[in-house]
């Protein structure tokens, strides 16, 4: 399964990457929203994990991009405390699930499994 992670925090990015690789997934890493949107257009992704606040384009813009190109990709949004209203917007734009930081990488893996029925 091909999973895109969009996250500007290097530690979170690398930790989630290693967890997913350990689970047998292929992973694409992006460190800003614009790069993530490019990859979403180019690749046939099975799932996206995205942070809300990122340079160049936010998680909300990534969700809008997915919606506008008509791809049906499950998206898990990582948000920080105090971003509740943005999370509501994210669900309106088709987000499948969200997690609030600080988050447990193990729980993220469980949620990915649940979303992809793997």
């Amino acid at each position: 399964m091909l999973i895109l992670i969009a996250e500007d925090d290097e530690l979170i990015l690398r930790t989630v990457e290693h967890k997913l690789v350990k689970e047998g997934h292929d992973v694409v890493l992006t460190r800003n929203g614009r790069e993530a949107i490019e990859k979403i257009n180019e690749l046939d992704l099975d799932l996206v994990v995205t942070d809300i606040m990122m340079p160049f384009a936010s998680g909300i813009e990534i969700l809008s991009a997915i919606k506008s190109i008509g791809k049906k990709i499950p998206v898990i949004v990582l948000s920080s405390m105090g971003q509740e209203e943005v999370v509501v917007d994210a669900f309106d734009l088709g987000a499948s699930d969200f997690m609030v930081k600080p988050f447990s990488p193990n729980e993220l893996i469980l949620r990915i499994k649940r979303l992809t029925n793997k």
């Binding site: 290097e10 530690l11 979170i12 930790t15 290693h18 930081k101 600080p102 988050f103 990488p105």
Partner: protein, 355 residues
């Protein structure tokens, strides 16, 4: 008597100036190189540290070479300081097993000693750093010393101590509020609120004592707490705060009443409206906009026609739009007897709706 400067004196002076300029250039270059080295080291060290943390969280196979390199770096005091910083920072990113792994690193590499040293330092920023690190790494033995810091006169220290105690004890850590007489900043209030996840039923702490505090910022914090946990039983106490001397407290009281509202809230807002300053009146109108209650329709029309403040007229028109009274507003805006200012206000409100 004039003394003529000899050629050799002039040359000597120029040479001295040139030597001084050269020395200055060398000093600046040396300092820049030193700063660059520090920056470069910090960046590469950060990568090494983050890799170590990631490895520990994920549970990768250990590499002996990398471990040896890491152990070598640990002998450097500035590396240990950065390691501690990155660990505390990482602790805010992860929860569950990952957080426990980060805590384990802290103890395994004996970084606790560094944090204790900072806690007992004289400089405020170091003490605050020590408090933050010991709390983030859940060192419960530090609670008594951190509790003492709650009364420290230095803002950075007592703020960090408050946050640490609430991190350790949750709601029970708010005991300091009872005698706290300094301002509790908005940022600090939010940090404390986010750290409290529940209010134990058996708690000895009483919200009703904080709500009567002579410290306005403690009252505002208590109102936010009531709002967060929807503490309906404090409705009457909150309502009484609408007579408080501070407008800021009154505004927060309106927001809190809105959050714990009952069937009489809107009626009560209308009855006290006239005795409130403009800021509070605007807050009441915002609450009415959210409540969308038809029982305030006549009241709003009255404010639109008769209130002296333009901001209140605008807010009243906006709430009427939300209540579906667009036609009423259009009719009066087209009436020849309506004065210009009111027509502009109504047009603004109707335009807002379109946006």
């Amino acid at each position: 008597m004039h003394h003529h400067i000899q050629l050799h004196e002039l040359i000597l002076a120029i040479v001295i100036v040139l030597i001084l300029v050269l020395l200055l250039i060398i000093t600046v270059l040396a300092y820049s190189f030193y700063s660059y080295r520090i920056l470069h080291n910090r960046q590469s060290w950060r990568q090494i540290i983050e890799y170590k943390i990631m490895e520990t969280i994920v549970g990768s196979d250990d590499s002996d070479d990398r471990d040896r390199e890491f152990a070598e770096h640990l002998k450097e005091p500035s590396f240990r300081a950065l390691f501690l910083d990155v660990l505390v920072d990482s602790d805010r990113k992860f929860s569950g097993g990952a957080k426990q792994s980060i805590n384990r690193l802290f103890h395994d590499f004996k970084l606790e000693d560094e944090a204790w040293r900072k806690l007992r330092h004289r400089r405020a920023y170091l003490v605050a750093g020590g408090v933050q690190e010991l709390a983030a790494m859940n060192v419960e033995q530090a609670i008594p010393e951190i509790t003492d810091k709650l009364n420290d006169p230095r803002t950075a220290v007592y703020q960090e101590a408050q946050y640490a105690i609430v991190t350790f004890k949750g709601y029970e850590g708010l005991g300091f509020l009872e005698h706290f007489d300094r301002p509790l900043s908005d940022w600090q209030q939010l940090r404390l609120l986010y750290s409290i996840h529940d209010i134990p039923e058996s708690s000895d702490l009483h919200v009703d004592t904080w709500i009567k505090s002579t410290n306005d910022t403690v009252v505002v914090f208590t109102l936010r707490l009531i709002r967060k946990f929807r503490l309906m039983t404090f409705y009457t106490e909150v309502f009484h705060l609408l007579n408080h001397s501070s407008t800021k407290v009154r505004v927060q009281a309106i927001r809190t009443l809105q959050a714990i509202e009952n069937s009489t809230t809107i009626q009560q807002f209308m009855s006290i409206f006239g005795q409130q300053p403009i800021e509070v009146q605007n807050e009441i109108l915002k609450a009415m906009k959210v409540a969308k209650s038809r029982e305030c329709e006549r009241f709003l029309k009255d404010q639109l026609w008769n209130h002296t403040a333009v901001s209140i007229k605008i807010s009243a028109a906006e709430v009427l739009v939300v209540l579906g009274e667009e036609q009423y507003l259009r009719d009066i805006s087209q009436n020849e007897d309506t004065y210009d200012e009111l027509i502009q206000i109504i047009k603004h409100a109707l335009q807002e709706k379109k946006c």
